[in-house]
């Protein structure tokens, strides 16, 4: 493999303005496929979730999934799009063995939603508006597994396996208008856009939008134009960039690669490119010598989709608060800075913290446990916070026990450890492990007396005014109570008994 020439990022940006176009495919979380009644459940035996329609058998016909249309409209509305009063599906004709009919039922010049925008917030709080060209409905293809080759691509493979369970799963393709003016922040904008879109899709409840499971897939189209020019350059299309970090890296790499080619007097070839997760590079895929001719025409097997204005308004009324707006509201409610909010966001903890607060915890405690003990634990296990066996209600209970003085932080951490280890609810762990702050004044008093008696010298020093020495006595008491005493109360008692005030 030849080494791709790259220009330094700064040098590239000094000479060129990047123009991006982002195409995101979202698999909808409908129970059934877009045009038939087959299940969309992931992970089933290959080809077990198929029927004549999604296998494209002769004579079969499609029927539109109404929930799919509803989801598309919701996405369109959330992206501030106009919703078509009347639109049709179209056939996109091309051959590929994982496409049962050898055409994809999609939309062409009559998308269900068009002309919108999404405001995305960068990490420093700056808001960048990404214009949306369109969002349209289509069906997914089946899945090919190429066997016997070195790369897993069809080239060099001895044979291919086809699984049509995915064929016909509803997709929404969301296409931006050219994103110009982002300058050096272009890769960051790309990442923030995809992140915001993902949050939006999740908030709408139309898909889980898990990129690692292919439920959301992104193509990054990028071109450069010399500074001061308004004429777009030739673009490359980097396909299937499937994580937020990769979106940023792919854009960055392509900026540097394009710049190197242009700077050396070369021309950019319009082509698709493969992104490589390992080193963040892209390599040439398929050259598009001329625009591919998909011979689109209106799908004659389906009637037009004509969502009534009443329905559209009904759906608009059900839209949840936009993720960005919600995030800013929460940040203010919680009284934290942009950076801390970003950390919470990156950790995927926003909803968990909100739920914990709803379960009765105060926001500081909720953030503390999720971003501290639990985040550490999740990190160690390589899991998401929401995959831990501890619910927001559990965390709220721990916080309540701390607040009422039944637990101190040290004990609370042990309770959390117990819950995560599957020992039961926080209360059960407290019982089983005997983790309670010793608040029985009698028992505590005895322990304090004991400590004073055993450390007469120190006690004298305290009586003599060296109050700072009290720590040693507190430590002794904590030792005898095996850490289950409230240290602050112990200190109070010691000073009281020694007749010293702070």
């Amino acid at each position: 493999m030849t080494v791709t020439e790259l220009l330094s990022y700064d040098a590239a940006l000094a000479a060129y303005d990047p123009v991006m176009g982002l195409e995101v495919h979202v698999e909808l979380g409908t129970r059934t496929k877009m045009f038939c009644g087959c299940s969309t459940e992931l992970g089933a035996e290959p080809n077990s979730q198929t029927c004549p329609t999604c296998l494209g058998l002769p004579g079969s016909l499609p029927v539109v999934n109404a929930i799919g249309v509803e989801s598309a409209i919701k996405i369109g509305l959330a992206l501030n799009c106009e919703i078509a009063e009347w639109c049709r599906f179209a056939r996109k004709n091309y051959f590929y063995p994982d496409m049962p009919k050898n055409f994809q039922t999609s939309q062409y010049d009559e998308p269900i939603a068009f002309n919108g925008y999404l405001d995305v917030q960068l990490e420093d709080g700056e808001v960048f508006r990404v214009e949306i060209e369109r969002a349209h409905m289509e069906e997914d293809t089946g899945k090919s597994t190429h066997v016997g080759g070195a790369t897993g691509r069809i080239h060099g493979a001895s044979h291919s396996l086809l699984d049509y369970n995915r064929a016909g799963i509803p997709l929404i393709e969301i296409v931006t208008k050219p994103i110009v003016g982002a300058g050096e922040r272009a890769p960051e904008v790309a990442k923030a856009y995809v992140a915001e879109l993902r949050e939006l899709i999740k908030a709408l409840g139309v898909s889980e939008a898990r990129m690692e499971m292919g439920q959301m897939r992104c193509d990054v189209n990028l071109s450069l134009m010399p500074k001061g020019s308004e004429k777009f350059g030739t673009r490359s299309e980097t396909k299937n960039v499937n994580s937020l970090r990769s979106v940023e890296r792919a854009a960055r790499f392509e900026i540097q690669r394009h710049a190197a080619v242009l700077q050396s007097g070369g021309t950019i070839i319009q082509e698709t490119r493969h992104f490589h997760e390992d080193d963040g590079s892209t390599t040439s895929g398929r050259v598009k010598e001329e625009a591919e001719d998909y011979r689109y025409f209106p799908e004659p097997d389906l009637v037009p989709v004509a969502p009534s204005r009443d329905w559209v308004e009904e759906l608009r009324a059900t839209l949840p608060e936009l993720p960005r707006v919600r995030r800013n509201r929460l940040r203010e409610d919680w009284g934290i800075n942009e950076h801390d909010m970003q950390s919470i966001l990156n950790a995927g903890a926003v909803d968990l913290i909100v739920a914990t607060i709803e379960a009765g915890a105060d926001s500081a405690a909720a953030r503390k446990w999720w971003m501290g003990e639990l985040a550490r634990n999740a990190n160690e296990q390589g899991k998401g916070l929401d995959e831990l066996p501890m619910t927001p209600a559990d965390v709220a209970r721990v916080a309540a026990l701390v607040a009422e003085g039944s637990l101190n932080d040290k004990l609370a951490r042990q309770v959390i450890e117990g819950v995560l280890a599957g020992e039961g609810t926080p209360d059960e762990v407290v019982d089983k492990r005997g983790l309670k702050v010793v608040s029985d004044e009698g028992a505590l008093g005895a322990a304090v007396d004991e400590a004073i008696a055993a450390n007469a010298g120190i006690a004298d020093k305290i009586r003599g005014g060296k109050v700072a020495a009290v720590g040693a006595l507190v430590g002794a008491v904590m030792k005898t109570t095996r850490g289950q005493a409230d240290a602050a109360r112990v200190k109070e008692l010691i000073l009281e008994k020694l007749g010293v005030s702070e």
Binding site: L57, G59, S60, L302
Partner: protein
């Protein structure tokens, strides 16, 4: 035996219900007839002897158990080989589907079975319903029972021939540009193209989705109506199926009348290319309608002159996409898979071997017409013509209740005569195509023999969308008057096989 096969569907159903005949007797009589004559006629691609007898036995058992029987229970039927039949081969007249056993029943097939109709087998057709003579079948031509050296029409020549040869009292056809009506016309049988969306297309292998329509074929107007009622109705599996009650076709067929009706004749449906004897019988039919009390109105539908051109852009365009799925990957024929060739090579070799010349011609035409840069000029313009034709019909139906015309410009031509001249072949559908483009309903029924060749001529009746009942009301009146005039149904003049 002879008696049973000459009975109409209505008579058979009545006799079975009354216990005068058993469904098994009826089925056996027709199977015997098929055995006796189909070697000559070649109406069937597949005879499902066991399936038919099993269905017949089930009907007899139902009757014995005192269960209520449907209006066509026990009546045999010949099914065009374009509808999927679970467990029974479906070839669409093409080598590309040779050996394919569908895992599911078409909605129409299911409805026939639920109505206890006995499906005798699958009938021959032009490959993928592309043709007007059944010569494009990959499995050899079908002979017209009136003259076995002549074509039985197409694409549903197997269905029309099976009726004319008394191999079945009922048949199913599909009509994309005339494939039910033109075969009916040249065999002196009755064929109806229902309103588009009236009969489900689910399980009917697609040729041109926006034009294809399944419909009934029979020897009498009433039989066609009885069958129409069984197969029609809304189907949630077909998005283009109309969600409205089936027009009262049987009632209309039982109450034939044209008295007080306004009947249109279209200027564009005559002139060059129309056989003199065909026009003579057509003009006599118009006279008959007048005698029966209809008012004749002359109509001008200028866009009809463009119908054939528009059709030969729209139908190939849709077919180029519909037939893309035949790629040898999942079902049907697979050629050249010797372990060394790529999937693309296998697809190419399979198509080369599996598709006939007419199918290839239309795939290429359609692929071209849909190409970017040509789309607007071809497919786009054709769709505009389609709109104009629909408007011409709408205007016409403001003035008249039905329109009549010859079904096809000529009588049955000899097998082979037009095989190498696609344009001449396409002209057979000159009068039938406008109806497909507009989506309304039409019927063909016999109106006499052309004096010059003694072959059947068809009268076409056209009605507005969802007014299919008018076809039967007019058709029944005309049929009754002709049979009275001739003293017998026209088909009885056919030579015995």
């Amino acid at each position: 035996m002879t008696d049973i096969i000459k009975l109409t569907a209505a008579e058979i159903a009545e006799k079975i219900a009354a216990g005068d005949l058993t469904a098994v007797e009826v089925t056996e009589a027709h199977l015997a007839r098929i055995e006796a004559v189909d070697e000559k006629v070649h109406a069937f691609l597949y005879v499902d002897r066991e399936g038919a007898l099993a269905q017949a036995r089930a009907v007899d058992a139902k009757r014995a158990a005192g269960e209520k029987l449907g209006p066509l229970a026990g009546v045999p039927l010949a099914l065009k080989d374009i509808f999927t039949t679970k467990g029974v081969p479906t070839t669409v007249g093409s080598k590309i589907l040779e050996g394919w056993i569908p895992p599911y029943d078409a909605t129409l097939t299911r409805k026939l079975k639920e109505a206890d109709v006995v499906i005798l087998g699958k009938t021959n057709m032009d490959e993928f319903a592309m043709g007007s003579s059944t010569e494009n079948s990959a499995y050899g031509p079908t002979g017209n029972p009136w003259d076995l050296t002549r074509i039985p029409g197409g694409s549903g020549g197997g269905s029309s021939a099976s009726l004319a040869a008394y191999e079945a009292p009922l048949a199913i056809g599909t009509d994309t540009g005339g494939s039910i009506r033109q075969p009916a016309a040249v065999t002196a049988t009755v064929g109806v193209k229902p309103t588009y969306g009236g009969v489900s297309r689910y399980g009917m292998v697609a040729f041109s989705s926006s034009l294809d329509q399944g419909g009934p074929c029979a020897r009498t107007v009433l039989d066609a109506a009885l069958l129409h009622e069984v197969i029609a109705g809304h189907d949630p599996l077909d998005s283009t199926s109309i969600d409205a009650p089936v027009p009262p076709v049987v009632e209309a067929a039982r109450n034939g009348s044209v008295a007080g009706m306004r009947v249109g004749i279209v200027k564009q449906f005559r002139g060059e290319g129309y056989q003199a004897g065909v026009m003579q019988r057509f003009d006599e039919s118009v006279e008959l309608l007048k005698e029966l009390g209809a008012e004749i109105v002359e109509l001008d539908c200028p866009s009809f002159d463009l119908a054939l051109a528009a059709y030969y852009l729209i139908a190939p365009s849709e077919c180029s996409s519909n037939l893309a799925r035949f790629d040898a990957m999942r079902y049907g024929l697979r050629v050249g898979d010797d372990g060394t060739k790529s999937a693309e090579d296998v697809t190419a070799l399979t198509r080369e071997a599996g598709f006939g010349p007419e199918v290839k011609r239309r795939i290429m035409l359609g692929t071209y017409a849909l190409s970017s840069g040509y789309y607007d000029a071809y497919y786009g313009s054709a769709q505009k013509v389609r709109t104009l034709i629909t408007r011409d019909f709408e205007k016409a139906f403001e003035q008249v209740d039905v329109i009549v015309s010859p079904t096809t410009p000529t009588t049955a031509f000899p097998i082979g005569e037009r095989a190498d001249d696609p344009m001449a072949m396409y002209l057979a559908d000159l009068c039938t195509i406008p109806t497909n483009l507009a989506g309304n309903a039409a019927m063909s029924l016999p109106c006499g023999l052309a004096p010059e060749d003694g072959l059947p001529v068809g009268l076409q009746i056209i009605a507005p969308a969802m007014k299919d009942d008018r076809l039967y009301k007019v058709g029944a009146a005309v049929e009754a008057a002709f049979v009275e005039r001739w003293g017998h149904p026209l088909l009885e003049e056919a030579p015995s096989l």
